[in-house]
């Protein structure tokens, strides 16, 4: 847009000249000296007001200046728009009338003088048939003077302006130094001024009291400006009306002087109409009425391009180009109106229409469209649109909105639109302009040489041909466009500028790929200009991390790389050259013919003083060599080795030079050592180029000191001491397309996950040394294990590039000595552990013992040749940690004895022994061996118990004086029990649950507790053998105990119970005699004193005197059945006894009798029975009945008797046994 004449495309807003505020004189408005010479000077004699308030007002007014604002059509909160110019006290108005040519003779008649810009004025450039001078629109139209006081002064100014003939409006603002309230005092004076000057107080005379706050001043100034703006609008409406009137006249006015020279052609009526329409449109624009303006512009445009105006002008006539220029200006102004009213799609259409129409006209009438001039115009036309879009500033096209184009207007959205008709952001337009400029250059370069000669050298014929062949509208002649000698138009710079403009727009909207494309195009232009450094600055950062590489757009990557390489070569950027050459070896790129593809020749042609060291990595660069590092096994143990393969796959061009690597370094993470492979030339002549070459490499550990191991100091700081690496040597030449596989065994050192983090290859040529480090190939989803056979093994492991190193397997063994099959409760358990060192070297060990399980006992640990350790008490889990053991020499063993205290109840205990040890040879690697033992503790015995009543020999007598308790000395004699006593027999049957024979050394029955003031005395019925009794597994033994219980006092007749414990003292049969394990079994609670009356039957056998003498005689053995009735109650009880006769025996005694039992007494009735049968049980049918309660009492059998539900049974011994019968009865 800058190419168009200044002012022709200005945004038209009313022009406000501010005078009298401040003394700064603006630059003269009229640049044209001729115009200035005859300008009309308006001058005020008063000095300028220069107070603080005046400055504020001036600033406020200047802030309202709309000149530099974007052309915002909408949403402007202020109603007015001015172009504001501040001047001192004088102002020069341009001349109103054109000057007559000086050489004209004396005026024959009164000339009608016209505006200097009119085609009618002889001095105008338009004379006699031009249409419109571009200077027209810049004329000052409204002068508003702020003045102070004196009416004479105002009148003088007014007169001056009036005389000038301009219908400029004058507005006077009187600044008063009073507050608004006191203005009324001056009312009279103001009235005077107003009257004498004839100024309208509403429109042109303002009083502005200044003693106010700034905000108030602002609103006041705002009001004044609004009022003036209304005046201005009115002024332009007048002018517009005037123009319409002129147009309506329908005649072409006569020029001041009829043209005398050249053609006699004067401006036609149609031409005048264009002029009037244009003027009307401009005036409408001044009024901000864009619809009206647009209509007028369209009218002017149609007329201009219609048959009567442009079509009539021949192409050789300079007026043709003037008409084109005018058409452009009208079109631009129309576009502006469209854009300002928000009709973006219509604007693009308008743009396209103008393009097409001009194309059509130029094709038909002009010099054709196949020359640089047309392309130059097209480029300009695109750039104009871009400029317009930037000026209008659509919110939809803001970079923050991220939308690239503006949606169409509502009324057009249903139509089939061209995609281009959606208004895109200006970057697109600049790019289009750049494309046209490219075409322009192409066409310019096709200009034949003779046309490019300077005009003075070329022939007349060539000159005339040139005029017809080239469109020079707004662009230079062919000899200047592309001169044969010397610089012409710098096309590259032009294109570059447009591309840069476009690129900034694209970048703002985060179209990064598109901006790279533009950058690439820009760089081609920079290449043309030879600005290599600029290319590097522009392209190198993009090249480094452009997305095309990571996304596989190889053709683009290649293009960028080549452009950059060229620049780098010219600029001598060695690193960049090597990096690009390295990347371009990849055969995914297209082959450039004649290129060497040898990385060692990368710096050929560059002066290398000091060979640079170049470090590259795969983060910013792809490579033709891919590396992978896989482990054969998923896991391995520390101290062992794991086979691993390092593969290098070359994707270079088949005819590229082989790469001779200097070394290969595999960086590792975890418990591995770095692997270095060094080149060693082995293959001299035979250049075998197999696609797959598998080499087995032996690695040996090499210790390198920190200084020379790492060239960069960072790592050596971390590890100041020496570093151990694995090193191998072999030939490291990689041919194009070859896969080199290096297989080696990697020693695994420490447990944990380990993997190869990067593979770094380095090579060295004479000119540089290069290292390239890359991640093991992540892009390939499955790695493979190469082998010499054709079968390839693919890994299905998730990550074959890492190996899990398990801890080194311990070679110390923990063995339990003498562990028994079964452990029992109540015995002390001894466990012997033997710790056997099967490592190759001596070991320093520590032992942790942990017991787990319910009721885990405390224990002691005795280390052979060491101290004794006791377990902590209290906690459930008892562990002893860090028991220090002596150094165990290789293939020797250390012993530990663990003694567990006797355990109360059956349980399961886990005993774990953990040996953590270090080898003396490798004190940094802890090794752990663990042994776990389950100890199942069972109870060796179980027992069942019975309590049988017996007749106690004693029964306390109420009348015994010994029983009388003396309360006075009761304290001391309380020990003697004198209450009721009862005797019982406790039968215990106990079985051994042990797996082996045990020796019972003793058994006891002990009362543990009694309830109800009773004392119990127990005694063994029979003693055990002195050396104990051997109890076999699963055997049941029965033992009798006597239990006599006695109440402490006779008065206490309540029942009493006792808790008894059965104690077995035993040992294993294998154990020595000294060991006594005591197992205590608790009996259920028994009643040992009953308070109810009871009937006890006892039997005794008379020893027959005749048994030995005559066995044949009648049975002479008698049974004595004693019925003892105990009455421990305090009641007098009467019992009836009836004895039925029986077939089995004869008896003597009362058949029916009544027994009275006193309280606290007992009585016995004896029956003598003569059994009639032998060797059997007889049943005496005896009933004891409580007379009072009519209740039959149960007869309780005692020793030698038994009972069933019908009553007691007596044993009649067989005939021949005699005395033994007693024994047998007892046993049953």
């Amino acid at each position: 847009m800058e190419a168009y004449p200044p002012g022709s495309l200005d945004h038209n807003v009313p022009f406000l000249v501010v005078s009298g505020l401040g003394t700064n004189t603006a630059k003269p408005l009229l640049a044209d000296p001729e115009l200035r010479e005859r300008g009309i000077l308006v001058r005020s004699e008063l000095s300028a007001v220069d107070t603080r308030e005046a400055k504020i007002i001036l600033r406020l007014i200047q802030e309202a200046d709309a000149t530099s604002l974007p052309w915002e059509p909408r949403d402007n909160p202020k109603r007015y728009k001015f172009k504001i110019n501040t001047i001192g006290r004088e102002f020069l108005l341009p001349p109103r009338r054109a000057r007559l040519p000086d050489d004209l003779d004396a005026p024959s008649s009164a000339f009608v003088l016209h505006s200097p810009f009119s085609p009618l004025s002889p001095g105008s450039t338009l004379y006699p048939d031009g249409l419109i001078d571009t200077r027209l629109t810049s004329d000052p139209t409204l002068a508003t003077l702020h003045d102070n006081e004196l009416k004479t002064d105002i009148i003088a100014i007014k007169n001056a302006i009036g005389q000038s003939g301009y219908k400029s409006r004058l507005a006077v603002v009187i600044l008063s130094d009073q507050s608004p309230s006191s203005v009324s005092q001056f009312q009279e004076r103001l009235e005077n001024i107003r009257r004498s000057t004839g100024l309208d107080p509403k429109a042109s005379l303002f009083v502005l009291p200044t003693r106010r706050t700034e905000a108030e001043l602002e609103t006041a100034v705002d009001n004044v400006l609004t009022a003036i703006f209304d005046q201005a609008i009115e002024y332009y409406r007048d002018l517009g009306r005037h123009t319409r009137k002129k147009r309506a006249r329908g005649v072409a006015p006569r020029p001041t002087i009829p043209p005398t020279s050249g053609t006699s052609h004067i401006l036609s009526l149609q031409g005048w109409n264009v002029r009037y329409d244009f003027k009307a449109a401009v005036f409408a624009e001044f009024r901000q009425e864009f619809d009206v303006a647009l209509r007028s512009y369209e009218q002017a445009y149609d007329t201009l391009l219609g048959t009567d105006v442009l079509e009539t002008i021949p192409a050789w006539n300079p007026r043709f180009n003037d008409a084109r220029l005018l058409a452009d200006i009208i079109a631009i102004r129309a576009l502006k109106c469209l854009l300002l009213s928000g009709q973006s799609t219509a604007a693009v259409r308008r743009w396209q229409l103008h393009n097409d129409r001009i194309c059509d006209i130029v094709d038909r009438k002009g010099h054709g469209t196949h020359n640089y001039g047309w392309k130059a115009w097209q480029a300009r036309w695109c750039a104009v649109m871009a400029n317009l879009i930037e000026k209008i500033n659509f919110p939809e096209l803001e970079p923050s909105s991220l939308s690239l184009f503006r949606p169409p207007e509502k009324n057009l959205s249903a139509e089939r639109l061209q995609p281009w008709e959606l208004l895109h952001h200006s970057g697109y337009w600049y790019r289009a302009a750049a494309r046209h400029l490219l075409d322009r250059r192409k066409l310019a370069h096709s200009i034949p040489e003779e046309d490019r000669k300077p005009p003075e050298e070329s022939t007349q014929a060539a000159m005339s041909r040139k005029t017809y062949a080239y469109d020079t509208y707004m662009c230079p002649e062919p000899n200047e466009e592309y001169p044969l000698e010397g610089p012409g138009i710098n096309h590259a710079q032009l294109i570059f500028d447009h591309l840069t403009l476009a690129r900034t727009e694209f970048q703002k909207r985060r179209q990064k790929r598109a901006s790279i494309e533009l950058a690439l195009d820009s760089c081609r232009e920079l290449e043309n200009m030879g600005k290599w450094q600029q290319i590097l600055e522009l392209l190198a950062p993009l090249w480094r991390d452009m997305s095309f590489r990571s996304e596989g757009w190889w053709d683009i990557t290649e293009e960028v790389s080549w452009v950059l390489r060229n620049a780098a070569f010219e600029a001598g950027q060695k690193e960049l050259i090597v990096a690009i050459d390295w990347e371009l070896m990849n055969k995914v790129f297209s082959r450039r013919l004649g290129w060497h593809y040898d990385i060692s020749k990368a710096l050929d042609g560059i002066n290398v003083v000091q060979p640079p060291v170049i470090n590259l990595d795969d983060e910013h660069l792809t490579s033709f060599i891919r590396a992978d590092f896989v482990f054969k096994h998923e896991e391995g143990k520390a101290g062992q080795t794991c086979p691993a393969q390092l593969s290098l796959i070359s994707n270079a061009f088949p005819d590229a030079a082989p790469i001779r690597l200097k070394s290969l370094i595999v960086h590792v993470e975890g418990g591995l050592r770095e692997i270095h492979l060094k080149h060693e030339k082995t293959r001299h002549q035979k250049q075998i180029n197999t696609t797959l070459e598998l080499a087995k490499v032996t690695l040996k550990e090499v210790e390198i000191s920190g200084d020379d191991a790492i060239s960069d100091g960072s790592e050596s700081d971390l590890q100041p001491d020496s570093l151990i690496i694995l090193e191998g040597t072999l030939d490291l030449t990689v041919f194009p397309g070859q896969t080199r596989v290096f297989e080696f065994n990697v020693p695994l050192r420490e447990s944990g996950d380990a993997k190869a983090t990067s593979v770094q290859l380095s090579l060295e040529s004479g000119a540089f040394s290069l290292t390239y480090s890359m991640q093991p190939d992540q892009t390939v989803s499955s790695s493979q294990w190469y082998s010499n056979s054709s079968s390839r093994r693919k890994f299905i492991r998730p990550d074959p590039r890492s190996v899990r190193i398990l801890p080194r397997p311990p070679k110390i063994e923990v063995k339990a000595l003498r562990i028994l099959e079964q452990y029992y409760t109540n015995e002390a358990i001894e466990l012997g552990l033997s710790i056997m060192n099967k490592e190759d070297s001596d070991a320093t060990a520590k032992l942790d013992i942990t017991l787990r399980g319910g009721g885990a006992p405390s224990y002691q640990v005795q280390v052979a040749g060491g101290g004794k350790h006791s377990s902590p008490s209290g906690s459930d889990e008892r562990s002893l940690r860090g028991i220090h053991m002596n150094t165990i020499n290789a293939s020797e063993s250390g012993e530990v004895l663990i003694t567990l205290d006797p355990i109360e109840g059956p349980t399961i205990i886990d005993l774990s022994a953990k040996v953590s040890y270090y080898l003396v040879s490798d004190p940094s690697t802890p090794i752990i061996q663990e042994a776990l033992y389950h100890l199942n503790i069972v109870s060796p015995f179980e027992a069942s118990y019975d309590l049988l009543p017996r007749i106690h020999s004693e029964w306390p007598s109420l009348f015994n004086t010994e029983n009388i308790q003396n309360p006075s000395d009761g304290d001391t004699t309380i020990t003697q029990s004198r209450g009721l006593a009862q005797r019982w027999a406790v039968v215990t049957r106990y079985a051994s649950f042990a797996h082996e024979e045990v020796v019972i050394s003793d058994i006891e029955l002990e009362p543990i507790a009694t309830q109800g003031n009773v004392t119990c005395i127990t005694s063994k019925a029979e003693a055990l053998p002195a050396d104990g009794q051997i109890l076999s597994p699963k055997m049941i033994e029965e033992k009798y105990f006597d239990l006599v219980s006695q109440k402490s006092s006779l008065d206490d007749r309540s029942p009493a119970t006792a808790d008894l414990a059965f104690i077995i003292k035993w040992r294993r049969i294998s154990a020595p005699d000294t060991v006594v394990n005591i197992t205590t079994l608790l009996l259920p609670r028994f009643y040992v004193i009953v308070s109810e009356p009871r009937v006890l039957a006892t039997v005794s056998y008379s020893s027959s005197p005749s048994s030995s003498t005559s066995p044949t005689t009648s049975p002479s053995q008698l049974l004595f059945l004693d019925i003892t009735i105990e009455n421990p109650s305090s009641h007098f009880l009467t019992f009836g006894l009836t004895m039925e006769p029986s077939d089995e025996f004869a008896f003597s005694g009362a058949k029916a009798t009544t027994v009275n039992v006193l309280p606290m007494a007992r009585r016995s009735i004896t029956y003598r029975l003569l059994p009639l049968v032998r060797g059997t049980w007889v049943r005496p049918t005896l009933v004891v009945r409580d007379k009072y309660f009519q209740k039959v009492l149960k007869i309780i059998p005692t020793e030698g008797m038994k009972s069933d539900k019908d009553g007691v049974l007596l044993w009649v011994p067989p005939e021949d046994e005699g005395d033994d019968g007693n024994e047998a009865v007892v046993r049953s």
């Binding site: 259409r349 396209q352 097409d356 196949h370 991220l402 690239l404 184009f405 139509e415 089939r416 639109l417 061209q418 995609p419 281009w420 008709e421 959606l422 895109h424 697109y428 790019r431 289009a432 494309r435 909207r509 985060r510 179209q511 990064k512 790929r513 598109a514 494309e517 690439l520 997305s547 095309f548 590489r549 990571s550 996304e551 596989g552 757009w553 053709d555 683009i556 293009e559 792809t622 992540q778 892009t779 390939v780 989803s781």
Partner: protein, 194 residues
């Protein structure tokens, strides 16, 4: 110029890692030489296709935030409509499958000489967004068919981390290529099925 109609000049399939999978270039009519020739070089088409990725990204980002009005339907159907017009001739239309594979059709608004019998309007005959739908539908069908081939290896590494596109392979199926060519040549404005 007056009797040209829009035609497809380039069909691009772009993988979900923004890697090019397939590019077919069609010649378009040159009014001055009256021949059919591609309007741009393959490199320029590559740049042009990759340039649309910016718009795909921007639009997806725009749709991802909930404020985007009317974005839901576009996200569901995958049809991005007009991505941008490159200049007054070329315009790029886009479609994204739910697996992130993008189809781009570059249309030359003056790409083909209109036959007399077809309803060739004036040069400014436009194009609606949905007129490209049959193209994308046909491309998607072809792509799905390609994927259904058990011997076809998509060649896209799992993981989808940046940089994964570099290792991806292009589509080499001849059948797919022929199908792309057929679609591109058969399409014209107003055609509803391909």
């Amino acid at each position: 110029m007056a009797n040209t109609i829009p035609s497809i000049v380039c069909l691009g399939i772009i993988g979900r890692n923004n890697n090019p999978l397939h590019i077919t270039i069609f010649p378009s009519y040159d009014t001055t030489t009256q021949t059919y020739a591609p309007v741009r070089t393959p490199l320029q088409f590559s740049l042009l296709l990759s340039g649309t990725l910016d718009i795909f990204e921007a639009r997806s980002r725009h749709l991802a935030n909930p404020g985007g009005a009317g974005g839901g339907s576009m996200l569901l159907s995958g049809d991005f409509g007009l991505l941008h017009a490159i200049d007054d001739r070329l315009a790029a239309y886009g479609f994204e499958t739910n697996t992130g594979v993008k189809f781009v059709a570059v249309v030359d608004m003056r790409g083909r000489l209109a036959k007399n019998n077809t309803a060739a309007g004036r040069g400014g005959v436009g194009l609606r967004d949905n007129e490209l739908k049959p193209v994308f539908r046909a491309v998607q069908t072809a792509y799905v068919r390609l994927l259904q081939n058990p011997f076809y290896e998509p060649g896209e590494p799992v993981g989808g981390k940046p940089g994964a596109g570099a290792g991806a392979k292009r589509i080499t199926s001849r059948k797919f290529r022929d199908e792309m060519r057929r679609i591109g040549e058969a399409w014209a404005p107003g055609i509803t099925a391909l």
